[in-house]
Amino acid sequence: MIGLKLLWLLLTAGLWLLSLMTASTLLLGAACCMILLPLIVLTFNLAAAKRIKLSVRLPVNIRKGQEETAEITVENPTRIPLCRLKCCVRFRNQLNGEEQVCRISCGVLPKKTQTMSLTFRSAYCGRVRMEVLSAHLYDCFGLIGVPVKADAHGACVVQPDMFPQNLVILPAADRTEEAEDYSNERPGYDLSETFQIREYVPGDSQRQIHWKLSQKFDRLIVRDPSLPITRTAAVFWERTEEHPAVRKTDAEAEALVSVCRSLLSQSVQFTVCWNEAESGRCMFQTIRDMDDLIGLLPRLFTAKASQGESGASLLLQSTQAGCFSHLICVTDQIYPQTQALSSLGQLTILTCGRDVPENGIRFDESDYAHQLAELVV
């Protein structure tokens, strides 16, 4: 803006000089316009400023690194042309705190609507919030600004890239798992409940052969065991970080979501917990299916890193001992309370920090997909 004003000064001085040197009425008029035009447009802008409406439109979900377009729509219900509306727009990844501020401007004809387009992309997953910080109406030369009410905002989720994972859930030896439901989608290991009856195929265990039916139908019939569904698994994301780094946060988020998907693929219903910086509390969300998980992401990705009391501590305060059969904790660093989480359930710690506890699995931000491809909890 300062450059534009200096340019205006240069042009005005030049035009006055030229008009005096050439005695040209045309140039004298142009020189007068350079001073009069901003003042007249200022009065128009003052009249129009209160009636300008701004709105923002963003895609709901985008992929990492994918360039998308956000739109700011300006509605000019007045009969005054808007020479230059300048908006200061902030994009903020609420998960890792990254920010970008950019400025965009447009002109709007009377009684028309104008759309300004911005492109954005994020290399890291999270929830990108777009907010119009300020908007000003300027004259043709961008000299005097009149503020316009700017309260438009929107958000979109940058989806994490999930990696294939073979998750093995071992029964918790020291806990009684009272399975109340069995999966309708896939067989399991509980021979006390039949998942389905089918014909024998080579490779089936002899223990699965249903001898009575085989005799009755005169061919080999086997039965598949059912998979018991437990509701007591939990995935906890420690969001307390002393030195947050965007790549680690991104790796943690992808690891967490991949684990969640693996659990869902095994029809395990579970609870996702995390600590929120703003409220200073631990949040819980039960996930039953993929829709729940997708619905969780916008909320989960607003959980920016906090400092102070650890999430593990908050989780211990919020829950009772032994309330989960399995607890998978994704964390950047091991706090004193982290190990105490084992009182809540069978604890597995996935950490991308340097300290790896006894029951922990370390991953790093560059090779976490490979490191967590096989996971036994």
Partner: protein, 757 residues
């Protein structure tokens, strides 16, 4: 601190991946406009308009290339065009080299003519035959300018606007013309349309064009062009005064249409020191042509017609300003002295020097066309200089004239050849008498020479006698009333010099009008030259030795050697008048009578209406006010920018405690215009009034922020990011409240004078 390579969020204005038709048209229109502007600038400084075919081809090829660039951008093939153009240029250089060189030579010669006539710059001539290569030069220049225009418009429209304006002003200083409005208007339109968004450009541009058209139409209809011309003239005069004058103007510099400068001050105008006692005619302004009561230096256009002559003369070392010394150098046996001039209050545009100056110190330049006076260089001219002059010229001059007539050496012949050529040039303009002078005094002039025949058939001596008789009749005891300049300069040296110069011209003697200071200096003494020494005199062209002052002006002859019985002698003819200089053999006015007449003249001079300094010129005040206004705006913008930047830095500093404190202090400052002044008390006392004014929630927030500020100031615990963010939000909220509860004028004051936000 987050590493730069870790930043993964990017946001920016949308890049237009496809160029639509409207975009192509606007790009073409602007590049064509800039191309025309650059062409006009080229024409202004090169005189290319004289080469019609070249100009037409330049315009055609440039516009075509602009169109080609626009089309290429539509099909996204811009990158192909530049290599193609370069390849074509290479082919042209290889296969049409001679034609191209000839074309550029022709263009150079046109530019040479223009530079000589516009600025008096003498450039060497290029070898060119006809205009055979002009088509090629036109095409090449057109392509070059079009490519530059397109690239500037595409990549740096703001820079392009600034560049155009700077070039236009520069070109205007070189040669002002109405067509320079094209680049000036183009730069304004570029500024109005300067944006990354196409739609904004259109709205902004339309508004600018419509409103400008209205203003210009009003100006054209209601402001007469004479008023604009008057304003322009006054401005130029003001600028001249600002550059070269210090205080009151002393000499009219040829403008005798207005009341003469009248100064009774005895303050020194020049301080002159010489190592020889002599009388110096320090010549400043020289009037070669007379029209409408104004003497003017020979126009550069007229002089430029003889640019080849002057180029040759300068190459030969012949300069009219130091012709006498050059002639003396042919003979040798002369003495020189040093004169040092300190210009205290005179016009510094001229170099005050006598006709006896030596060429090495005359301030003349080989590549500059200066047929008459010597102009100083630099924005404010020169105030201090020294030069060498011939001394005892009274004794040298008669022998010199004899030597030039008798010597047959090659060197003298070469000099006389140059002098002869220059004399022919002098006679081409220094014999012109305006028609109004002929009409006014033609009968009297004819009457004075009637005894010898008609005015155009007189010998030199007869012409001298007739001129003296005429002047005696005009300025004698029974003074002739109907003379030129009776309204503005009656009875003054300026009127006398004017009438004498025109009368001499009428009788066939080349003469001109000169202004300056006549001073008698003693050996190695600083002599103060005051307003009493200022005046005008006649200079006549003496064959062989050049322009010499003629003592016809009342009051001046007392400074030189006394009159002889043979008549009036040119300066330097010696006390006994033995030289071969001009002689006027009859009717000298007695000294006493002239003194009395001079006293009478001083009484008759108009008391009011004298030309004083800038204070009486409205254009000066308009310019001054405009400049001050612009300066003020620039200063305010810069000041606000710096203050806000410093404030932002304090808000985002690494020390969070300090940042919180700065934010709170600034919020408190923002509250003051709302009537919530803390004074010397606690901010807690403002929570109640703030709650009443701005809502209870705000009052509560203020209370918490006061506590947070106290914590940041006095606690060893550093506020965390959340607290800093909260304070930032509070600061922003306070700013919004201030904006919402403040009237417009107050808002302007707070924003631009107090720089609160």
């Amino acid at each position: 601190m987050r590493q730069k390579d870790e930043i993964g969020l990017y946001a920016g204005p949308s890049r237009e991946t496809r160029c639509g038709a409207a975009h192509v048209i606007s790009r073409f229109a602007f590049s064509a406009l800039v191309f025309l502007s650059l062409t006009e600038l080229l024409i202004t400084v090169s005189g290319f308009e004289q080469l019609r075919m070249g100009l037409i081809l330049l315009l055609a090829s440039g516009l075509l290339l602009c169109g080609a660039f626009a089309a290429a951008s539509y099909f996204r093939r811009e990158s192909v065009l530049v290599p193609v153009l370069l390849a074509l240029l290479l082919l042209v250089c290889v296969f049409c080299r001679n034609q191209m060189m000839n074309g550029f030579g022709t263009a150079w010669n046109e530019m040479r003519s223009l530079w000589a006539s516009a600025k008096g710059v003498l450039l060497p001539m290029a070898n060119a035959e006809g205009q055979s290569g002009m088509w090629l030069v036109g095409c090449l220049l057109g392509c070059l300018l079009a490519a530059a225009s397109y690239l500037l418009v595409k990549h740096a429209p703001a820079v392009c606007a600034a560049l155009l304006m700077v070039l236009t002003v520069t070109a205007c200083l070189f040669r002002a013309g109405p067509w320079l409005a094209i680049p000036a208007v183009a730069s304004v339109l570029l500024l109005a349309a300067h944006s990354g968004q196409r739609r904004q450009s259109i709205v902004s541009l339309l508004s600018c064009v419509v409103f400008s058209a209205l203003v210009i139409a009003v100006l054209v209809l209601f402001v007469p062009s004479s008023a604009v011309q008057g304003l322009s003239d006054q401005s130029m005069e003001s600028i001249h005064h600002w550059r070269y004058e210090r205080g009151q103007e002393i000499l009219p510099e040829g403008d005798l249409s207005q009341p003469l400068p009248n100064s009774d001050s005895d303050a020194a105008i020049l301080k002159v020191t010489s190592d020889t006692a002599q009388t110096l005619y320090l010549r400043g302004f020289v009037g070669d042509t007379y029209e409408r009561e104004r003497w003017a230096t020979l126009s550069s256009e007229a002089a430029a017609q003889e640019k080849d002559l002057f180029y040759w003369l300068h190459q030969s070392g012949f300069y009219p300003q130091s012709q006498l010394a050059l002639a003396a150098r042919q003979m040798g046996g002369f003495e020189t002295g040093t004169v040092r001039v300190q210009n205290v209050a005179g016009c510094s545009m001229y170099r005050y020097a006598p006709c006896t100056i030596l060429p090495e110190t005359a301030g003349t330049q080989k590549n500059t066309l200066q047929p008459s006076d010597t102009r100083t260089s630099g924005w404010n001219g020169e105030r201090s200089y020294s030069y060498l002059t011939l001394t005892h010229i009274q004794t040298v001059l008669p022998a010199l004239l004899d030597f030039l007539q008798t010597d047959q050496s090659a060197q003298t012949s070469a000099y006389l050849q140059a002098e002869s050529a220059y004399r022919a040039f002098v006679r081409s303009y220094a014999l012109e008498v305006p028609a109004e002078f002929r009409a006014q005094l033609g009968a009297v002039l004819d009457d004075c020479c009637s005894q010898y025949g008609t005015a155009d058939s007189l010998t030199k001596e007869e012409a001298q006698v007739s001129a003296l008789a005429f002047l005696e009749q005009c300025f004698g005891a029974d003074r002739y009333a109907s003379l030129p300049l009776e309204d503005t300069a009656p009875g003054t040296q300026y009127q006398y010099a004017t009438v004498a110069a025109l009368a001499l011209r009428y009788y066939g003697i080349p003469a001109r009008y000169a202004e300056g200071y006549v001073v008698s200096v003693n050996e190695n003494e600083v002599t103060d030259v005051d307003a009493a020494c200022a005046g005008a005199w006649v200079e006549v062209y003496q064959d062989g030795v050049g322009w010499l002052p003629l003592e016809l002006t009342p009051g001046l002859e007392s400074l030189s050697a006394e009159q002889t019985e043979d008549g009036v002698k040119p300066v330097g003819t010696g006390a006994d008048g033995e030289g071969d200089g001009l002689r006027v053999t009859e009717g000298q006015t007695p000294q006493e009578e002239l003194d009395a007449q001079d006293d009478q003249t001083q009484e008759d001079q108009p008391k009011g209406g004298q030309r004083t300094g800038l204070v009486t010129k409205p254009a000066f005040w308009i310019l001054l006010l405009a400049a001050l206004l612009l300066l003020l705006i620039a200063a305010m913008v810069l000041r606000r920018y710096l203050i806000l930047r410093k404030r932002r830095e304090s808000f985002t500093q690494a020390d969070r405690s300090a940042a919180v404190g700065c934010l709170f202090a600034d919020a408190a400052a923002l509250l003051e215009p709302l009537g919530l002044r803390r004074g010397c008390g606690s901010m807690l006392a403002l929570c109640g009034p703030a709650g009443e004014h701005l809502g209870t929630a705000y009052g509560e927030e203020l209370r918490e922020m006061v506590m947070l500020n106290a914590q940041s100031l006095f606690s060893s615990h550093t506020p965390d990011e959340a607290q800093l963010a909260r304070m930032t939000r509070f600061h922003e909220q306070t700013r919004k409240e201030l904006l919402a509860h403040t009237k417009f004028l107050k808002k302007i004051q707070l924003q631009w004078l107090k720089c609160l936000f």
